[in-house]
């Protein structure tokens, strides 16, 4: 693909959230590069994902395990399943390096996860680091910073 336009970058982020809300998770995972990471830091402004605890710091295999687990016959914590809803602010393009083929966007969001009669609201910012791979945009890093990332939560079962 030619260098993506601003609208294509923005649409990519919106479409990614739509796949999550539809729980089309295999298609969602295909958006990630093989060496991608999905990172939810534990502390605001965290820079180290390895020697500091995080809520999530997952490679593609760990994401695959999560996805397969959700549908497992003996995954009792997902019987019944959770559902989720993303409400995104307009993604803002933070950085474009067309020569290197790297792009980053930052998107404020509200996210609702629900199971049984419970509904929990989370708020934060998603940062997407994108690359063009084989003619398509792909996620190299998705970083999700919750505004209260260091709070005591119950289960967070799906993907923000």
């Amino acid at each position: 693909m030619a260098a993506p336009t601003a609208q294509q970058l923005i649409d990519f982020v919106l479409d990614e959230a739509a796949l999550l809300d539809a729980q089309r998770l295999d298609e969602w995972l295909a958006l990630f590069t093989d060496d991608a990471r999905y990172w939810m830091p534990l502390t605001p402004g965290q820079t180290d994902p390895l020697l500091q605890n995080s809520l999530l710091y997952e490679d593609k295999m760990l994401l695959q395990i999560r996805i397969e687990r959700l549908a497992g016959a003996r995954t009792f914590s997902q019987q019944p399943r959770s559902r989720c809803h993303h409400l995104l602010q307009q993604p803002r393009i933070a950085q474009i390096d067309a020569a290197a083929g790297t792009y980053s966007l930052r998107t404020a969001f509200h996210y609702v996860e629900t199971r049984l009669d419970e509904q929990v609201l989370f708020a934060g910012w998603a940062t997407h680091h994108l690359v063009v791979l084989e003619g398509a945009l792909r996620i190299k890093l998705k970083r999700v910073d919750l505004v209260n990332s260091d709070a005591a939560f119950g289960n967070i079962s799906l993907f923000m």
Binding site: M40, L42, N53, L55, D59, I65, E68, G72
Partner: protein, 448 residues
């Protein structure tokens, strides 16, 4: 001297005889998990009579450094004194009852200052000053409770940098309470080439809508991993099996996979039961025994301890050590989990990680990975457990059955024994915890 207000007269229904009737040899009554009156009595008695974990000395390295926490339902503050010692105070202004230290941690300087009326306290809790002090002249202030400042924990003991307190000023000594069980803390500290741990990585906080004792019971429950965690660990094994041949086993799979070990593995790994509710799984083997070596670690250990002592230290692969009432320690993976009671049906689980000072960073990296894969609110292993705890919290209200069974491999002879290694699927350690529960629930009731 009568016992202080920490141990008031219990409601008539919770006399010692009532408490004892809740725990049989191999059964425990549902009320210990669901009755708010039992919970209130636990806060007043059990958590005041037991030695409870407060924090780690590395969290307060300098004079005036403090951390706030709870012991049972009591707001407490742990603070480093100018002389290097550590005090544990009730975090409550003697004046109007305001929580004095507000942050999770910080440095208070030479004194605490209440944000309401600026009463100040030395870091040992004693009252230092208050504005308009002459307004208390000739008021009998010296005989008021407020003149005594912030109340101190009944007793404090720092063991190899782990800080414990007993809220009641009278009771069992630290040594009698823990006995031989301290060997697990020793082993975790000895795993540092410098014999020193530091809290590192930040704490994972996970809210559970269940009674705190369900978590304690679970720590030595070796018959649940291959069932409850089939969804997470089993899936991890299945996904990795699809990787191309020759793919090196990722650290995450190495951490997940042993949860799916068969019953025989858990039977053979053993459980050791100490007195007073302490005990550990993983006597001769454990799910932490077969991790890949970390480059540079063995060399650093041998340099510090010599070959033979190093072998002794690292061949101790204890799985979960329960320190009654409410912490669990994993020496080989350097974590400590605190099960903080919030209400009869609510528990805050804090999972702390430690750096082995002088060891390669990769060990802390593995510890952090284990913690987020297994202990956090985003952990799939944690989801498996929390689901069954919450189902129990709900269904224990059933009047169809009143008792929970803990009778697996019960032998009446066990009542006279302590410091014994037994079959790894024995529920003896759960029974040990329940017997300790009765002991520390009733200890201060009977003093009256």
């Amino acid at each position: 001297m009568t016992l202080p207000a920490l141990a008031p007269t219990p409601p008539a229904t919770l006399a010692p005889a009532h408490i004892r009737a809740l725990v049989r040899e191999t059964e425990v009554h549902k009320d210990i998990y669901i009755d708010p009156q039992v919970f209130a009595a636990e806060m007043q008695h059990l958590f005041a009579n037991a030695w409870v974990y407060v924090g780690h000395a590395s969290q307060v390295p300098n004079a005036g450094d403090y951390t706030t926490t709870t012991v049972g339902d009591q707001p407490m503050v742990m603070v480093r004194q100018a002389d290097g010692s550590i005090s544990v105070l009730h975090n409550r202004c003697a004046h109007k009852g305001v929580k004095v230290a507000g942050e999770a941690c910080g440095n208070t300087g030479k004194f605490f200052r209440c944000p309401y009326h600026a009463w100040t306290y030395r870091t040992d809790g004693s009252l230092m000053s208050m504005p308009l002090k002459n307004g208390y002249e000739n008021t009998g202030f010296d005989s008021c409770e407020a003149s005594r400042g912030m109340a101190r924990a009944g007793a404090v003991q720092v063991y190899r940098d782990f800080v414990f307190c007993r809220l009641n000023p009278r009771g069992e000594s630290f040594e009698d309470f823990f006995g031989e069980s301290l060997s697990t803390l020793d082993n975790m500290v000895d795993r540092s080439p410098q014999g020193r741990l530091e809290v590192a990585g930040g704490v994972l906080r996970y809210m559970h809508r269940c009674n705190w004792k369900m978590l304690v019971d679970n720590q030595t429950d070796t018959c649940h991993p291959m069932v409850a965690h089939e969804s997470s660990a089993g899936t991890a094994i299945r996904v990795f099996a699809k990787a191309p041949a020759g793919t090196p086993k990722p650290m995450a799979v190495e951490l997940f996979a042993p949860f799916m070990s068969p019953y025989e593995f858990f039977e053979n790994m053993g459980i050791r039961v100490w007195r007073n509710g302490h005990g550990h799984t993983g006597v001769s083997d454990s799910i932490h025994a077969a991790y890949s070596p970390v480059p540079g670690y063995h060399e650093a250990m041998v340099e510090a301890y010599g070959e033979e002592r190093t072998k002794q230290i690292v061949s101790e692969v204890r799985h979960n050590t329960v320190y009654f009432p409410n912490i669990m320690v994993k020496g080989p993976i350097q974590t400590l989990r605190v099960f903080k009671p919030i209400a009869v049906d609510r528990t805050l689980v804090e999972s702390w990680t430690f750096r082995l000072v002088g060891a390669p960073d990769l060990l802390l990296e593995r510890t952090c990975m284990y913690n987020r894969l297994v202990n956090g609110p985003t952990s799939v292993v944690g989801h498996d457990d929390l689901e069954v705890y919450e189902r129990a919290q709900e269904a224990l209200h059933s009047r169809g059955r009143d008792w929970v069974n803990v009778g697996r491999l019960y032998d009446p002879a066990e009542l006279d024994q302590t410091n014994v290694a037994t079959n790894g699927t024995n529920e003896w350690q759960m029974r040990n915890q329940l017997r300790a529960w009765v002991k520390y629930m009733t200890a201060s009731m009977e003093g009256q």
